[in-house]
Symmetry: C2
Subunit: 332 residues, 2 copies
């Protein structure tokens, strides 16, 4: 096989098929499609399915804790998981730039295979396109996902006193990408938190009636919670002293004047639960490898209707808006 | 709203939401999502679903007979239709290049809305990413589609004597793109055949037990039929004199020495049926606006096992292989 991607790999002819068979099919193995026809016939256990899609344009393609392949699986299975679904099937669409190293593509597809197995999903259909050198950027990936509903949240039941819980440190993914791009040398190593979350989420929702959940990716924790509060008769108060941050994220944020509450996460989930369920959620999270640093970070309050508010370490209050512009483009 | 796409439109923050609400949601209307959460809950009538995905990188974005938006809907709903499924739902992932004209995006989303209505599907979830100017090419689109099985083909039932039928002229999409790119001035107007095919296909499969169908897109009629024949104890003989071509496609092919059997189609379907059903399929196609030029173009034969063969106008036989390289990249 060629060691670079050619335009012909996107032709739909012999080269496309060679690429699909000798690279995608071989590396994905049992995590890949059973056949390579136009559409794949799937059996789903039930008639309530959850459907989602996400494209990935992260730069650089490889980063501490993962790569664009890891992200392409995690991003989509986590969207299904926070929608209350067990992820079952993924599609995989790649847009390759002419001249891309075949070896690099192999590594990315290997990450997809590994992460799909970890997430318990199968990549069942795909598509390959190639654009001329200079009209793309290495590889862009789209995944769409199908899951089956296992837990229905209802944000209309959120009420004063409810607890806001996160399963670990905030802002790791965005800050680790920033560190890499700017070439900062940190004392404490920081890596992306990129991981599939269904297993953790299911261990919680199987026991606790979670009212709302969201994975705070682009826009971070602040944007996700701000969206929840908008036009509601209640708001959310976050306590700064309760926010879990990796040491490097804290120092980097201070140094650069960035708010890590707007920094992307790729392995975090926010839960809103009734106050009497907060301890159970924390305990369930802490039993799971992806929830060891779980923390109750805030409370639903009717003092600030429609607003997300930060109670600072100095006992002052600061309103947190949505992310306006992008402090760091192409983080996923 | 800005008149150009900014990097911030991909941030996941305020600008992303503004773009989704004031452009995508407004233009898609009832052909769009009911909500803009991470995953969408769907009811499907049955537990056998068909899933497919396709990315679109066509250049130029607008062409006679359609644009990248028309293609993005047709490509995916047609993959579902030839898999024997009624298309129900689409996802929509767009990768925009910084600086893209907002007006151009509006026109493309309007095409998506129009074509989705024509195809009877709803775009239920989506995602927007933005890459820096010079790292993309205007807009790339991915759609994934979910359908419900209405007709199961079985290519193992294909046998000697079966008829190969196509619903109209061959190679229009690829040749019209070529004409546009090379700046040829044709006497007879040629445009892409891009159209959703489920309605036509269903009118046939509701009556006739179709053994195999395929939409001959990238790689054209020859590549699709070649794939069918491979490793089979039979082959297919196409009769050159029976192949329906638009006048411009014939003259252009002759002029350029290109074989239109390898040129892409976006509104064509190949049927293989038992000989006794051939006339019924032709009659059903001709009753439909997208099948007026339907033609029986070939026959399954055990004289050339595993091969696709063209019987020329001079009664000679020529073997047709798969498309090797891409005569025209980025046609879809």
């Amino acid at each position: 096989m060629n060691d670079k991607i050619l335009l012909g790999h996107g032709s739909g002819g012999r080269l496309t098929r060679e690429l699909v068979r000798s690279l995608f099919a071989r590396i994905l193995g049992d995590a890949g499609p059973h056949s390579f026809n136009d559409g794949v016939l799937l059996q789903v256990p039930g008639t309530s399915i959850v459907f989602t899609t996400d494209s990935f344009v992260v730069s650089p393609l490889f980063f501490p804790g993962g790569d664009i392949g890891t992200l392409a699986v995690c991003g989509t299975v986590n969207d299904l998981a926070v929608s209350g679904a067990r992820p079952l099937y993924l599609s995989l669409g790649v847009i390759l730039e002419e001249g891309l190293d075949m070896e690099l593509l192999r590594r990315i597809v290997a990450s997809i295979a590994l992460t799909a197995r970890k997430a318990g999903v199968r990549v069942v259909c795909g598509d390959t396109k190639v654009v001329e050198h200079g009209h793309g950027d290495g590889i862009f990936i789209n995944t769409a996902g199908i899951g089956i509903l296992t837990h229905a949240c209802d944000e209309h039941t959120v009420a004063r006193g409810d607890a806001v819980i996160i399963n670990g440190t905030i802002g790791d993914h965005g800050m680790s990408l920033l560190t890499l791009r700017k070439g900062f040398d940190l004392h404490a190593s920081l890596s992306s938190d990129c991981t599939p979350l269904y297993d953790l989420i299911r261990s919680v929702t199987a026991v606790v009636p979670v009212k709302w959940m969201r994975d705070p990716t682009r826009g971070g924790v602040a944007t996700a919670l701000h969206e929840l509060c908008e036009e509601k008769p209640w708001g959310i108060v976050l306590r700064e002293t309760d926010l879990p941050f990796h040491e490097s994220v804290s120092s980097l944020s201070e140094l650069l004047g960035l708010d890590p509450l707007y920094s992307a996460n790729e392995g975090k989930v926010l839960f809103v639960v009734a106050p009497e369920h907060a301890d159970a959620v924390l305990a369930l999270c802490k039993m799971h490898p992806d929830g060891k640093n779980a923390s109750k970070i805030g409370i639903v309050s009717d003092v600030y209707p429609g607003k997300l508010v930060l109670k600072t370490a100095m006992d002052t209050y600061r309103t947190l808006g949505m992310l306006n512009a992008d402090p760091l483009p192409r983080i996923c």
